[in-house]
Amino acid sequence: MAVKTRRYSARDVTVLVIGLGVAVIASVGLVWGPTLASVVLSATDWNGFGPIEWVGGRNYGDLAGEYPPFWSAVRNNVLWLGFLGLVATPFGLFCAVLLDRRLRLSRFYQSALYLPVVLSLAVVGFIAQLVYSTDYGVLNAVTGLSVDWLGDRSVNIWVVMVAAAWRHVGYVMIIYLAGLKAVDPALKEAAAIDGANEAQTFFRVVFPTLRPVNVIVLVITVIEALRAFDIVYAINKGRNGLELLSVLVTENIVGEASRIGFGSAIAVVLLVISLGFIVTYLSQLFREER
């Protein structure tokens, strides 16, 4: 019984302090510190230097009431999340299921769908411009239309999301493909013997066993939607209908503007939205484990 009551040796304590200490310092210094700093700065009017003036919630008031790009950015972020989550991700799963059936030329399709994933979204943005440009774009040239795909506010966010989805589908597909390969074929056989048809086998047997993969894909989709930035920035700096919260943060803080307080307020809004998803996800995860 002596073992249980024995205290940690000096060596154990050292290891603990170093092991935990580094993690705590890194986490506080790189994650919580900057996060709190943003929250604090969002209540100030600061241009990056000079005196910091406290303005309380004024930045938030200005943001919601008098900054038109803000609400279109919120709308676009929600659309982005919805489009990736409800269209691109299911389509990626669909492709994975098809490819998993060992079609002819399945390797070829697989590579073709996966290829865009190796491109950075900024590059996808350039490609999108070559396709969608009004005067020189492939799309208008082929279809004979003269639609202003990238300039018209009512369509540009949709065509850009299609371009973003082009990449997202391949990403989701490859993850699901790996998951499907790991599904025990005996399960499918058993389902077939019990008289389940294809759809039933997939939705009742295979899909539930993919649960860990689903969680990963969900997290990836949410992250991709909230951090979307490079593609719209490459296209038109995220203006005129392509506003996103991440772009507004950059536009206000990083650019020549240096509206640090105001930009921080937008960042805090983005943080709150992200926290909503993270908290939901973590609470789900912990509930499962209990």
């Binding site: 241009n47 990056g48 230097f49 000079g50 200005d62 009431g65 008098e66 900054y67 038109p68 790009p69 950075s120 900024a122 590059v123 943005g125 350039f126 411009q129 070559l130 969608y132 440009s133 009004t134 005067d135 020189y136 003269s146 202003d148 795909w149 990238l150 300039g151 018209d152 506010r153 540009n156 490079d230 920035y233 490459a234 038109n236 700096k237 203006r239 005129n240 506003e243 536009e251 206000n252 990083v254 650019g255 020549e256 503007a257 240096s258 509206r259």
Partner: protein, 429 residues
């Protein structure tokens, strides 16, 4: 058809900067290492001077190199940063470890940083070079405290460009009044041309249209006061500007918000559009052989009280940072930049620019450059362009989205102006 893809080199650079992380580029901004002390060679009366340059494009970069070859009294170490990155990081650059001399813009944009004590007063240099510049250039180099902080190097006027061959063929004459411009546009439409080329995907080109209509309608003084936040955007005079612009919009190239200025300029080069209001750099998009076919007229008169007395002609030049280590060397270098000979080297290398010094030799100018110099000498007021005449945060976060929203929904002027005024009040407080 010889069509160039709509991707410019600069756009690619912006993309590269975004992809590889602006901070990495930023570190290249300051002159991190102290200037080498004794290792310089040649005549080093002025010692080693560092120069922060935004001349990242090929033509300006080469032009700067040639200009610096003429600077023999010291050694210059050039730190070149992508044009847009340089601009966006100017705040941190000047507060960190800036170079001794740096490229910048005249007018409000210069005053903004001079006021914060980030630039060295160079009034003593101006006592020597002052005679080489017109009063308009001196005013554009002077801070709010009456001291000089800037040496003008080159500039380029904004005007309405067209192809002579097209106009001669159809018998068009440069319009003198707004009515003539409208009538000409109607004629062009009947002739199957899009009258006025237009693009605002990048957000800034439409500022040029706003500037010129405002200066023609309300005069230079009102324009500058409006830019400085001293006049209200809900003023009926501002509304009049947007009303006039709305009347002209139907003659503008449609779908402007999805087009870059390069694409619009190419439509002019390809004779699909009749005219284009832009800076003289529009010539870059013309093949060498077609450049002589390019001509321009100043935007026509709207209000007889002001005639055509003002134009946008942004001035590029050099400043000495407040943290300069080698102030004497820096001043020697900007004196070199102020010399007509140095500016002539630059205008020869880059035909889209004009020399700022009035002593510069204009005999080597191209036909377009000569016309540009003439246009500027006739103007009694020179504005610097909207994003240089007002606070940078106001220009980028308020004016760009607002002008784009006007182009998208030209009918909603009142609500737009109320929104601009509210945002202005938030920024200029």
């Amino acid at each position: 058809m010889d069509q160039r893809p709509p991707l410019s080199r600069r756009n690619l650079l912006i993309g590269a900067a975004a992809a590889f992380g602006v901070p990495a580029v930023l570190t290249g901004c300051g002159s991190g290492a102290p200037a080498p002390g004794g290792s310089t060679t040649g005549n080093t009366a002025a010692g080693a001077v560092t120069l922060g340059s935004n001349a990242s494009d090929e033509v300006p970069k080469k032009s700067l190199e040639t200009v610096l070859k003429g600077f023999t009294s010291g050694q210059v170490k050039v730190n070149t940063v992508d044009h847009n990155t340089f601009q966006e990081n100017i705040n941190r650059y000047l507060r960190g470890t800036p170079d001794d001399v740096f490229t910048w813009f005249a007018g409000y944009r210069m005053q903004f940083f001079a006021e914060q004590g980030l630039a060295t007063d160079i009034s003593d240099v101006w006592r020597e070079i002052g005679a080489d510049y017109t009063p308009a250039f001196k005013a554009a180099s002077t801070g709010t405290d009456g001291k000089q902080y800037f040496v003008p190097f080159t500039y380029y006027p904004w005007a309405v460009f067209y192809r002579k061959s097209v106009w001669e063929e159809k018998g068009y004459e440069p319009p003198k009044t707004l009515d003539e411009l409208t009538a000409l546009s109607r004629r062009m439409k009947a002739d199957g041309l899009v009258p006025i080329a237009f693009a605002d995907k990048d957000g800034w080109p439409a500022m040029g249209t706003f500037d010129i209509i405002n200066m023609r309608t309300n005069g230079y003084d009102f324009h500058i006061a409006l830019m400085a936040g001293k006049e209200s955007w809900t003023d009926p005079r501002v509304k009049q500007v947007f009303e006039t612009w709305r009347g002209l919009l139907e003659h503008h190239q449609p779908a402007a918000l999805g087009r870059t200025w390069q694409e619009a300029a190419q439509s002019l080069a390809e004779k699909k559009t009749g005219m284009y209001l832009l800076g003289m750099f529009v010539a870059q998009q013309f093949p060498e052989a077609d450049r002589d076919d390019l001509d321009f007229f100043t935007f026509p008169e709207i209000n007889p009280a002001y005639g055509t007395d003002s134009i946008d002609a942004p001035i590029d030049g050099y400043m000495v940072s407040a943290k300069a280590r080698n102030v004497d060397g820096a001043k020697a270098l900007i004196k070199h930049f102020a010399q007509a000979a140095a500016q002539n080297v630059a205008t020869e290398a880059d035909p889209g620019t004009l020399a700022a010094s009035s002593k510069a030799d204009t005999s080597g100018y191209s036909a377009l450059q000569k016309r540009g110099a003439e246009l500027v000498s006739q103007a009694s007021h020179i504005a610097q362009f909207l994003d240089r005449d007002t606070r940078p945060d106001f220009a980028s976060t308020v004016m760009i989205p607002s002008l784009q929203s006007f182009i998208d929904k030209p009918a909603e002027i009142d609500s737009l102006l109320v929104s601009i005024e509210k945002q202005k009040a938030n920024i200029f407080r």
